[in-house]
Symmetry: C2
Subunit: 200 residues, 2 copies
DNA sequence: GTCTATAGAGAGATAGAC
DNA sequence: GTCTATCTCTCTATAGAC
């Protein structure tokens, strides 16, 4: 039941093409060419464009959501430890595949019904997560949604905007990869500061 | 030189279809149907799919970038005033068209060459903006890129993630529109707190 | 300006030889 | 498993009647 070399070459080509162009603009011929195989082999191994896309998309959703959720629900770490660990691990993970957030958010928004059922994100109860319960204990006056939006926004938004900002001349966003990596240390400091201020 | 009724109906339909599906998945037939006109009229008034898309895209880029840049370069307001004003105006503006950030970032990433020249965002020098100079005076030890990423991320990221989060059951993101509007008052407080802490 | 009809290119998918 | 050839459908765009 191990995958053949051809099968894996096609899948890797599909990853690249779908990430670059999105589902609609990607073509089966693009994938075959990138893999260096005959067009009909893509259908032979994966049967349809929709099917191979769902395989890639499931993989990508697992990567973007699965890499943080275990830490968020862990009952055995403090809030501070979670924040440090998640921001570091997440920035390292997404840096290997920096277009991942824009790709996943964009495709999910275009086809929420079909793609939403592939990954159980819609069945998750944020209120029962350890990280949310810990935040509520620390800052009872603030809606935890704001905390999650700030934390995730600080971590993920730079990847979404990187492509655009890096094109600006002579700018503050030169070397945006370096800037993003600096944030692994800075985000926990900023968040800790916000928690202590307990602004409401 | 005023637009005819048909011409405007087609443009409005194109706005909706392109925002929903993106450039690649949108069809001239979709646009004609949404406008309630014959297919060939879309080409009669706008000549090609690429052309009508660029018209819509230019409009949208003007909306997402043009609505904040004037405030960022204004030499006659304080940093604190800028932050308050921008977060309020921006959240109100984007709330009327909440899919705008995801649409613009996504399409720009897929076709940066052609779309980048439509709007002069790539010619802007962030370092010369009043808001950046003011931040550097207030927090000389922090790269202003972090400030801009935090400020814009806190403001824009909730719109990018809203679609996904709002599907979660029994969650903290119920009524995400209300939560986003609360942020008009909260973001200036958080940012002010970060400036005063001057974390480095 | 608006319609019908269609050209022409490109897409996804499959049949069938090897 | 891999190839060539092709079917069928859909798309953008245009020609030409009214």
């Amino acid at each position: 039941m191990t995958e053949s070399l051809t099968e894996e070459k096609i899948k890797e080509a599909a990853r690249i093409i779908f990430m670059e162009k999105g589902y609609a603009a990607a073509g089966m011929r693009d994938i075959a060419a990138k893999a260096g195989v005959n067009l009909s082999l893509v259908n032979y191994y994966y049967r349809s464009k929709k099917n191979i896309f769902q395989i890639i998309m499931l993989e990508k959703m697992h990567k973007i959501f699965g890499s943080i959720i275990p830490y968020m629900i862990d009952e055995n770490t403090s809030l501070e430890e979670k924040i440090k660990h998640i921001s570091t691990v997440y920035i390292d993970t997404i840096s290997e595949d920096p277009n991942l957030p824009l790709f996943v958010f964009s495709e999910l928004q275009k086809n929420p019904e079909e793609l939403g059922i592939l990954f159980p994100i819609q069945n998750m109860d944020f209120m029962q997560m350890s990280i949310v319960k810990q935040f509520k204990a620390a800052c009872p006056d603030i809606n935890p949604a704001h905390f999650m939006l700030n934390f995730l926004g600080m971590t993920i938004f730079p990847f979404i905007a990187a492509h655009l900002f890096s094109k600006m001349p002579n700018g503050i966003f030169d070397n945006i990869q370096t800037i993003i990596h600096e944030r692994k240390k800075l985000i926990p400091l900023w968040i800790k500061n916000m928690l202590e201020a307990n602004i409401n």
